[in-house]
Amino acid sequence: MSAKHYVATVGELQPGGKRIVEAGGKSVGVYNIDGVYYALRNLCPHQGAGLCEGVTSAYVTSSGPGDFAYTCEGEIVRCPWHQWEFDIKTGQMVVDPRMRTLTYDVSVEKYEVSVDQEARIYVHLPA
């Protein structure tokens, strides 16, 4: 069983964007990465900061000193306190995947009530 909470219309959450919403007493960050939606509990497992309030970034890799390569653009959130990096798609910390925040299912729903009504994004939390 889960409870459905409204997040935004699809037009309000464009690729690269995020929304932080209250859902069932919890703060949740919902991200649009290339048209796919991901939801994370807005709580860093380290010391309790609002994780999703941090900068959304890329995963930086390197072939050696002085080289910087960017992959997974928009898929990393850096905690606003200690700058720990988390994978938005899994909720896992980049360097220690056992350290993780909860992720939630997201759905996009459209009811044909009127022609011009936009589809709406919902996050699903365990009841």
Binding site: H46, Q47, G48, A49, E53, G54, V55, P80, H82, Q83
Partner: protein, 377 residues
């Protein structure tokens, strides 16, 4: 019924016990601070800028502005607005009974080759801090900035403001021209003792301006190396203080190491004790094991807390560093590597927690016990 209410009240108090936070950095409003400078320096600054070397010109930081990203201070040019933000976001939020500001203004003052300018900036910073922070909230205490470049000028500044009840220690940057045990600094320690003030060293400004490079091997490149180097320098200061005989000459002096780590103190003390057994005759004034001077004279702050990978090592290491008497809780608010008063430490006994989060600092700085503490025990 009444006893239930008292028990509930005690439970509530236990969940949010009073805290002394020993490392706080509130931004200052430059224009309001500069008003305390004499005309000569105000005009120079108007014409040429601050002419202070900065760490940011050589090294990165951990986050934009060096702060937790949600800590956006008001920018209306009023120190009172900053203090209001600080009260709400930190003092009230975590039930901080006393917040020790570790320097008002800029540790860059400790890097300029001009001691007269450094002294003027310290006087301005200290007076600004007294008027705009310390006098505005009884919870806020501060540290005396000194021109360490010129220990006689530094002693004058300590004599000038050292008896103010809101100023609880003297502070300098870890970056230095000479290790702090050097007799060059004795006028500073004489003044500290005259006013019953601890001498605190806060990591900062290593290798910047007149200060020596952040390692004996030279300058390092990345910010993370720079952070690692700070501990080496603090180690050098600690050994210097002990073996130059500072604590023998100034038996009342307390030395506070701020933001340089804590658990390393254990093996470092063991190494000093071991070497002292063999080399004691070379520094015979050091008549007791070095660890004994650490226990009696040295205090250190907790943030950024280094936790062992195995939690079972935590308690033994805490015992080894005399945490129940020598460790002081610090959050480093509002900096990005902030340690939450509620979440940073692993579980500890209530007694140990009370020592680290309150009693050790209260004894060091002469601060009162938390109100109602007796009733809750």
């Amino acid at each position: 019924m009444e006893s239930t209410a008292i028990a509930a009240d005690a439970r509530k108090r236990r969940t949010k016990p009073a805290i002394i936070d020993c490392d706080i950095h509130i931004p200052s409003v430059k224009e309001e601070m500069l008003a305390y400078l004499p005309r000569h320096y105000r005009e120079q600054i108007d014409t040429f800028g601050m002419r202070l070397p900065s760490q940011g010109a050589m090294y990165l930081n951990g986050a934009k502005g060096g702060r937790m990203q949600e800590q956006q201070f008001p920018n209306d040019g009023k120190t009172s607005s900053i203090l209001e933000h600080f009260r709400r976001e930190h003092l009230d939020k975590y039930n901080i009974a006393h917040a020790i500001l570790t320097g008002i203004g800029d540790y860059g003052i400790n890097t300029t080759p001009d001691p007269d300018y450094a002294a003027a900036l310290c006087r301005a910073s200290n007076d600004y801090g007294i008027d705009h922070f310390v006098s505005q909230d009884p919870r806020v205490k501060s540290s005396i900035m000194i021109p360490k470049q010129d220990p006689l000028l530094a002693a004058q500044e300590i004599d000038r403001v050292g008896d103010h009840p809101g100023l609880v220690q003297v502070i300098v940057s870890n970056g230095a021209e000479k290790p702090y045990g050097n007799r060059f600094y004795y006028p500073i320690y004489e003044a500290c003792v005259r006013h019953n003030l601890p001498f605190a060293v806060h990591v900062s400004m290593e290798g910047i301006g007149i200060n020596h490079p952040p390692t004996g091997a030279g300058h390092v490149n990345h910010y993370i190396e720079y952070r690692m180097a700070r501990t080496q320098i603090m180690m050098a200061h600690l050994a210097s203080m002990i073996f130059e005989g500072v604590f023998v000459r100034f038996p009342e002096l307390k030395f506070v190491m701020i933001e340089a780590g804590m658990l390393w103190v254990a093996p470092y003390m063991w190494r000093m004790d071991q070497d002292w057994k063999a080399l004691r005759s070379q520094t015979p004034w050091v008549s007791e094991p070095p660890s004994e001077y650490v226990r009696r004279h040295v205090r250190f702050t907790s943030q950024p807390l280094e936790l062992p990978p195995d939690n079972a090592m935590f308690e033994p290491m805490m015992n080894a560093i005399f945490a129940d008497t020598n460790l002081l809780f610090a959050s480093d608010y509002p900096h990005w590597d902030f340690d939450s008063p509620l979440k940073a430490f692993p579980k500890m006994s209530a007694e140990r927690r009370e020592r680290i989060f309150y009693a050790n600092a209260a004894e060091l700085y002469g601060l009162p016990s938390p109100a109602g503490q007796e009733a809750s025990e």
